[in-house]
Amino acid sequence: MEVLAYLIPISLFLGGVGLVAFIYTVRSNQYDDPEGDARRILSDEWDDKPKS
């Protein structure tokens, strides 16, 4: 059962990382146009460099 001492902090940490990542995506407006973004990846226009 000593393994719990590692596993529980690790699982909590990973959960926290997920939460922080989600908050980051919300704050950087990545959910403003889900439909458009899904289709934009099919366009060749900005394949070489990202649209600034």
Binding site: M1, L4, I8, S11, L12, G15, G16, G18, L19, F22, I23, V26, S28, N29, Y31, D32, D33, P34, E35, G36, R39, R40, L42, S43, E45
Partner: protein, 725 residues
Amino acid sequence: MTAQLSSGTAACPGCIAAPAEPARPVPEDVQIALSLPGIHCSACIANVERALNAHPGVEDARVNLTLKRAMVKAAAETHAADLIPVLERAGYEAHELDPGALSATQSDKAGRDLLMRLAVAGFASMNVMLLSVSVWSGATDATRDLFHWISAAIALPAIAFSAQPFFANAWSALRVKRLNMDVPIVLAILLALVTSLWETALSGEHAYFDAALTLTFFLLAGRYLDYRTRAAARSAAEELTALEVPRAIRLVDGAEEEVSVASLAVGDLILVRPGGRMPVDGEIVSGKSELDRSLLTGETLPVFAEAGLAVSAGEVNLTGPLTIRTTAVGEDTSLHRMADLVAIAESGRSRYTSLADKAAKLYAPGVHILSALSFLGWYIYSGDIRTALNIAAAVLIITCPCALGLAVPAVTTAASGRLFRKGMLIKHSTALERLAEVDTVVFDKTGTLTSGTPELTNLEDHSRADLEIALALAEASSHPLSVSLAKSTRDAGIKPARLEDVVEVPGYGTEGTYRGQRVRLGRAGWTGATEGDQTAAWLAVTGQSPVAFLFSDSLRPGAAEAVQAFRDGGKSVVLISGDTRGAVQTLADKLGIETWIAEALPQDKATHVQKLSDQGRHVLMVGDGLNDTAALAAAHVSISPASALDAARVASDIVLLGNDLTPIADAGDTAVKATKRIRENFRIATVYNIIAVPLAVAGFATPLIAALAMSTSSITVSLNALRLR
């Protein structure tokens, strides 16, 4: 969207403060927002962006497909009016939106706030669930206690943060001694936390931390969906409203100055240019022109205007500049009186109770009574307050309206998403439910079933020579009839005749000389003809009797299909218009509408709709003019096109973004399906409760059963809603 909006200032906050920078006039960029109801695919995104970026002055254009909108960053002298034709050439319908109204992203802050709470509840519940699964699969003694304590440490702060909207709502309901859906929710969450803490402290077997968190998570998901649908509709409707900037040109000692309409006073002289809309009620002092009254009265025939004629706010000046002395401003204008009619009619609207409210009314007291009874029952039976409290908590958790909370928003989100893709905007949250009940459809004529632009009907009746002269004269004017005449003759391959001295006489027509003879195209009286009851422009060549070019209002695309679809669906269709009998009858016959009323005043329209409602009919009103607003508000549910006056759009529940009317009929079908799904969802939720509640009351419910019941019911309800797409 927000990033683009703020980038103008946020990119260089230091620049403003830098004192070394000399005050050099930097041409400021403007943000232009365009609504694009027609876009739907990746090719559309690319085409629109390419077309916009190719336009001189445009620095950056970005399409948002979800909102069907394009944000354009451009040099200061670029106007939306220049960009709209560019897009129309590329094949996309576009309307200008007010970027000022768009920057009201404060409303979006509320959405983001909900999303954060949702995320916290979601991640916390995942972690707690992990620990709970270990407990359910056999962790005992100290390990179980440890897991429970860790769960408590995660759940308590997470719930304190994420369940705040429920706490606030429940408190505001309780303060006025009412019950709403949030009261049982809060009670369940709090009771679950309290009993679980107690159990944990006594190293008991069952703790409901995971249930409290998943409950919060699912309910927040429902709230968020609900919020998103309404926010999207609300912001888009606000943007449309912000289209019309209320400005007027005031003449002070002969000099023109642009002022806001609100600052006009009675007695002010104002100038209304051709194409402009009357900002106030008044009397014409000088100038001759024609007035388009269709938005106020539904008449398609322009009215001749000269000094002395009284004009009402909302009329459109067609040909010549007019100077007007203001007689009424603000609340006294006829436009405003119309808005008062709306307010009266609207008070009837609030009687409708949504399905969700009906369910909540049954549900909230039922749950409390059930849970209180099981607490009492178990306390009397066992005498142990701990067991009794545990069972009461289990009953509350299991009956908690996860599925009920998701049942309506999940369906409305799916349905309004579907309608939005077809170009309809649901403004009101119960609009779909009301639309599903509709059995009578009332249409307005001008601007709704017809596009409001005249179409030449008797091209073949004229000799080539006449047509050539008419075309030459028509091209000298921007009057709607002239524009239409020029377009259809050009399309027929006619070349303009060579005329000399062509002048437009405002209010009358155009005049010129053809081979030494005077030729005129214009009003009946001016050309020596007698006026008929159809919209017409007359051509007079000296020495010949005048000939008439007849016009009829062209049908809006999809009008015939929409009417047909409603009739096929067994709904009765009525046409009510302020236009003349002849014009209304022609259109009614063309579309196969049997019941029609012509020359109706605004009040008549509203009373007629009211009369239909009193007969127990559920009326859908489709209209665009000011004369329709009262009727729109009086109807059970109402739709107006985006081209409508803002008063009409405000009064209606659904706004049609595109030009095509066909989606209206689809909307009816979607609404019926959506309501069916909502009812199904309620049934699903009830079935789960019927199975799970006896278990809970009997004391057999474990946290595992609670978690299973809650998740499966919520997921089935959401999946059922998704079938609507």
